[in-house]
């Protein structure tokens, strides 16, 4: 396993294996993956909290225009506070986006056997055609979701 979505399976195997065959494997052999995830957390803290950008992220004017029509303004955070916000978590649209979206990330990456790093970077760079299939499909479905489903949820 050469991808970050593998860490999700590992945490499941470590914490709630529940006798599921797919979660019974030698996860200790891939402990480095958990250190990598810890590194991502620390890197996020250094880059996002200690070195928090002083200006808003420069976005294309077209994107700013579309997002502002949904009430989302460009900001210094990497997530829009208008959606990702504890106070608004329990509106159904936000539940779909955060919990539904998160669930699909976990379910879909394992079903597809990898994510953007496992298929998109490791898989494509070693010229494996099944990875190309997975990458093409998650791009197509992402494009459709961002352009059609998300606008419905943010109306």
């Amino acid at each position: 396993m050469l991808g970050i979505s593998g860490t999700l399976r590992q945490v499941c195997a470590m914490c709630f294996p529940a006798n599921i065959p797919f979660l019974k494997y030698n996860w200790k052999a891939q402990l480095w993956n958990i250190f990598f995830a810890a590194g991502l957390l620390i890197g996020g803290f250094i880059g996002g909290a200690l070195l928090k950008p002083v200006t808003q992220m420069p976005l294309s004017p077209a994107t700013v225009h579309v997002l502002s029509s949904y009430g989302i303004s460009p900001q210094r955070n990497i997530l829009p506070v208008e959606i990702f916000n504890w106070a608004h978590l329990f509106t159904w649209q936000h539940l779909v986006i955060i919990i539904g979206g998160g669930f699909l990330v976990g379910f879909g990456t394992r079903y597809a056997g990898g994510c953007t790093s496992g298929h998109g970077i490791s898989g494509l760079s070693t010229l494996q055609w099944p990875s190309l299939v997975a990458v093409a499909l998650f791009f197509i479905s992402g494009i459709l979701t961002a352009n059609f489903l998300l606008p419905l949820l943010l109306k």
Binding site: L8, I42, G48, L67, L79, F103, G108
Partner: protein
């Protein structure tokens, strides 16, 4: 973090074809990975445990199709593939813990249903 590939905003821009940055990241990451693997093979570099570095060949199954479609929806909604979720939490956005717990629930559910799902 600083490349902004972990940003929900950048992901929306990418899926709307309104910016080049994400595509630029992929187009540099893939050749870099390919070059790294070439060097690992050329010099027969071993892992810390002394094993040769191997890249397992992936065998196609329909899970790549169904899973790919489902993951794409989740990616566009949360602006995160699994790696960025950790970065979002680290950067102090505590609500991303909910995204992570949901993703763990998704992985667990897949593991549970695996024998019954078409592949």
């Amino acid at each position: 973090m600083k490349s902004e590939a972990v940003s929900w905003f950048r992901v929306q821009e990418m899926f709307r074809f309104q910016g080049f940055q994400m595509y630029g990241i992929f187009m540099t990451a893939i050749p870099t990975a390919a070059l790294s693997i070439f060097i690992l093979r050329k010099f027969k570099i071993k892992t810390l445990d002394g094993e040769p570095v191997q890249v397992r060949k992936k065998k196609f199954n329909w899970g790549y199709v169904y899973g790919g479609i489902l993951f794409g929806i989740g990616w566009a909604l949360t602006g995160a593939c699994p790696g960025p979720i950790y970065v979002q939490i680290g950067s102090g956005l505590s609500i991303a813990i909910i995204t992570l717990l949901s993703a763990l629930a998704g992985t667990w559910t897949y593991s549970y249903l695996k024998p019954k799902l078409p592949h």
